[in-house]
């Protein structure tokens, strides 16, 4: 089931025989590379295999015909890691890029995300975490190949050069990597291979086509939901509508009367119907007609949640930032302003509904899934099935979107339980409605701001209290720090770039109940909107241009300032626009990168905002693939704009009110703005790119709406009513 992708081909390989136990750990690999080559030799597949591929490490194999296979430990959910990781290796290896392919790694410590200490993909970390290790993997392999050539030619290695998969030496000697790899694999792995100076990069920083495009254009790409295991049953669940809800009455007989239904199994999370296929399972599920006892969660309503969070914002006493004397600054101000901002729960709504195929056989578990957290899953599913983690094999397939949702273990746990109980391989598929209502939402949040201006219109004081549930406390693998401040509840606010002498920023934790989780750009997704909306309000209160007002406050934040200026310049800030169109601007730094956006917005007769053009400037340090950066920023804008215009998960009497896309709409082709992305040339360390494009779009749009209409939007999604023209 593992994927192997090569340029211009869509090689759909059979399952490899690689087991977690057979792959070397990074430590072991460094200690005794040569011995481990044998341990890691994978059954050869595709064209590379036919020629016999030899491993130089856990990350690189080279075949006699010079094909290079890079093994990628990160999960591909659209963000381009199956191209970025090979680029990092190939650069230092001096590989011939058209001959480089990629393969999804099994679970092994060798593939741990160095920023997480576990094998998992999220937080826009893949390039940041692997920038050095994957280049080192390429450089180590290169040095081994050079050493093999030096030994063969009886010359000093320092006289040799490499380019496009070939070692060259004195007197016109040339040897291909494929001809050297067998000898190279017997040499020790250099512990500290020499890395290139960034000025010498041939591949990194150059726009490069993705390796997975052909397979994703002809239907052959294999996602989690495409897993096929002989004899497998498909499960659809009547999921508990609230955490802790218990079924009062279940019409099991009606479900079992549906042709094709095999079994009905009750789990803590709901009642599952197992059938020969999805349709029978779904019909059986619908026939169950479950009556639920919702328990205390049955009282949950969105209005009450909003009240609870507002109280948290007002009483916020977990202080994250206390600087100067906000009280005096307020008392001495020429002008003060208070505002209340709010953002709702949001679902990730990946295009591929959540699913997992699991097979528990005796003391072994095997799953096939699009997961962002295969490392932790080994331990979790080991516990679920009561087997040792080493006996849990995870086959990571492509993810039809992740956005943080596929970091959660709910779908892998339930599939594993269903297989263990039924004794059969089981593919659990969430319906779209199940996926929407299954929790793990972006936390809702209320922020209460106060700002003060002096008689020159300078911002002298910023106070903010945020009421929100805690991702850290609810995650199951992080802890709320001793000061009680959930870092994610305040990120994008407490780390704002503006030079303001007096500040107090505090958190008031409130827990309405529904499971909260990481959602593309996490806390920045709401705090970017709050902060950049309120700063815009302060600019208006000061009677200043919103771009110039920000710029004046950014003297200590040069990278923010540079992207702000670049976006403004490229957007033609201050130049005339057609009647009925206005610009808004916002800048947010997240995940080590800096993004400013200018949105051009008009309003339809029914009050619906229409975004015509977005100009983005991004500084994400040194770049791997500018093409991916452009596309990730554009995609992140669509993700954030969809939420700003439409996104809301609400509760009535304990139940989620949204089911399918008619109730949780997505931005579509006819609403798509033009997007321009400008990348700042930089020699800073690489920043993340999957998430940083999301936070600035909502504030850029609401700031444009203010410029256009004088109406300030302080709650998302944007309510069109105030903008409606009679």
């Amino acid at each position: 089931m593992d994927k192997k992708l090569e340029h211009g081909t869509a090689t759909d390989t059979a399952a490899t025989a690689a087991t977690p136990g057979a792959a070397p750990s990074r430590r072991a690999f460094l200690q005794s590379g040569a011995a481990l080559v044998v341990a890691f030799a994978l059954p050869a597949t595709g064209r590379a295999a036919a020629a016999g591929a030899t491993a130089l490490s856990a990350y690189v194999r080279i075949a006699a015909d010079n094909r290079v296979t890079v093994v990628c430990g990160s999960s591909e959910m659209g963000q381009g890691v199956l191209t970025a990781i090979p680029m990092l290796v190939a650069e230092e290896l001096d590989a011939d890029w058209p001959l480089v392919g990629v393969e999804q790694a099994p679970v092994d410590q060798a593939y741990n995300n160095p920023m997480f200490g576990m094998q998992a993909t999220g937080g826009s970390t893949t390039v940041r975490a692997n920038w050095l290790p994957m280049r080192q993997a390429g450089a180590a392999a290169r040095e081994m190949l050079v050493a093999a050539a030096a030994a063969q030619w009886q010359v000093d290695a320092s006289t040799l050069t490499t380019d496009k998969g070939t070692v060259s030496g004195p007197g016109g000697k040339k040897a291909s990597y494929g001809s050297l790899v067998a000898a190279a694999s017997r040499l020790p792995v250099p512990a500290k291979p020499k890395l290139k100076d960034s000025k010498a990069f041939k591949l990194l920083g150059k726009p490069t086509k993705r390796l997975d495009t052909v397979a994703k254009s002809n239907g052959s790409a294999r996602f989690g939901i495409d897993a096929q295991v002989p004899g497998m049953l498909v499960a659809v669940m009547a999921r508990a509508p609230t955490a802790g809800a218990k079924p009062k009455a279940v019409n099991e007989a009606a479900a079992k009367a549906v042709k094709g239904v095999q079994q009905v199994i009750t789990l803590p999370s709901g009642v599952a119907v197992l059938a020969r296929g999805y349709w029978a399972a779904k019909k059986g599920r619908d026939a169950l007609d479950v009556q639920w006892d919702l328990g205390a969660a049955g009282q949950l309503n969105s209005a009450a949640i909003s009240e609870m969070l507002d109280e948290g914002a007002r009483e916020a006493d977990a202080v994250a930032l206390d600087q100067g004397n906000p009280r005096d600054a307020s008392a001495n101000a020429a002008k003060t302003l208070d505002a209340r901002y709010e953002a709702p729960y949001l679902a990730h709504a990946c295009m591929e509904p959540l699913n997992c195929t699991a097979w528990v056989q005796g003391d072994r578990v095997e799953i096939w899934a699009g997961t962002q957290s295969q490392g932790p899953a080994q331990g979790i599913l080991g516990q679920v099935a009561q087997v040792t983690p080493a006996k849990v094999k995870i086959n990571t397939l492509l993810l039809g979107g992740g956005f943080g949702r596929r970091f959660a273990p709910d779908f892998t746990i339930d599939a594993t339980l269903l297989s263990k109980i039924s004794g059969k391989p089981v593919k659990l598929i969430y319906t779209r409605e199940d996926d929407m209502a299954a929790g793990f939402y972006r936390p809702p949040s209320v922020a209460r701001f106060s700002g003060a201006l002096d008689d020159q219109g300078a911002l002298t004081m910023l106070k903010a209290g945020v009421g929100s549930p805690s991702i850290m406390a609810g995650s199951g693998f992080m802890q709320l720090p001793a000061n009680g401040v959930d870092a994610m509840a305040l990120e994008g606010l407490v780390d704002h770039p503006y030079d303001i002498p007096n500040q107090r920023i505090a958190y008031g934790r409130r827990e309405p109940g529904p499971q909260v989780w990481f959602w593309r750009s996490v806390g920045h997704s709401q705090n970017g909107f709050f902060t950049e909306g309120f700063i815009d309000e302060m600019a208006a209160a000061a009677g200043k241009d919103p771009f110039e007002f920000r710029r004046a406050l950014l003297s200590k934040s040069p990278r923010h300032k540079a992207v702000l200026e670049l976006a403004a310049q490229k957007a033609g800030w201050g130049t005339p626009l057609p009647k009925g169109v206005a610009r808004g601007i916002a800048v947010v730094s997240s995940f080590g990168s800096y993004v400013a956006q200018v949105a051009e917005v008009s309003v339809g007769a029914d009050g619906t905002p229409r975004v015509h053009r977005v100009v983005a400037a991004v500084d994400c340090g040194m770049t791997v693939n500018p093409l991916t950066i452009e596309r990730q920023i554009e995609g992140a804008i669509v993700y954030g704009l969809t939420a700003a215009l439409y996104g809301k998960i609400s509760f009535k009497d304990g139940r989620v009110e949204q089911g399918n896309f008619h109730q949780y709409p997505m931005l579509r082709m006819n609403e798509m703005p033009k997007v321009e992305v400008h990348i700042v040339k930089s020699s800073e360390e690489p920043g993340g790119i999957g998430e940083p494009g999301t936070p600035p779009i909502a504030p850029a749009v609401v700031n444009a709406l203010f410029a256009l209409t004088g109406q300030r939007v302080r709650s998302l999604p944007i309510d069109p009513a105030p903008f409606k023209r009679a």
Partner: protein
């Protein structure tokens, strides 16, 4: 037993007539390029052609398909428009996660079969039923135009 014509071949299926085509394709025929997204014809991930018309297979019952020709993404490389679109998808590096792209290509292909010079409004109308959560709409639009140019050149 039901008989269907899928990608030019007659296939016999032991399936309930009220089952949507999507599940026959994905589970009985192992044509997994057609995707499940919403189940109620709101997202377009399951788009196939029935007698050349783009249709949501999640909401098309097997009982409605007697005598009709079903074409899926797996057969697109064998059609002139499908081939042009796939080449344009690669040239424009369109997909991100890729999950919706079969449906996007099927919708685009049905349009190009009738209209080799689509305007932006034509593209909006043909594609707005296909959601892309990764936000690849602008590259999709550009790729459709490229494919249209190559189809016009080919005559």
């Amino acid at each position: 037993m039901l008989t269907l014509n899928v990608n030019g071949k007659a296939v016999a299926l032991d399936a309930e007539p009220d089952m949507p085509l999507l599940w026959a394709l994905r589970e009985d025929l192992q044509l997994t390029g057609t995707k499940f997204g919403c189940g109620v014809a709101l997202c377009g991930a399951c788009t196939v052609h029935i007698d050349g018309v783009a249709v949501r297979s999640c909401s098309t019952l097997l009982s409605s398909l007697a005598g009709k020709k079903v074409t899926t993404i797996e057969a697109m490389a064998g059609t002139q428009a499908g081939k042009a679109l796939q080449a344009a998808w690669v040239a424009h590096d369109v997909p991100q996660c890729g999950y919706c792209q079969s449906g996007q290509i099927m919708s685009a292909c049905a349009m190009l079969a009738k209209n080799k010079q689509p305007s932006d409004a034509d593209i909006d109308s043909a594609i707005s039923g296909n959601i892309c959560r990764c936000g690849t709409y602008n590259p999709i639009r550009a790729a459709i135009k490229t494919a249209a140019v190559s189809l016009r050149k080919a005559g």
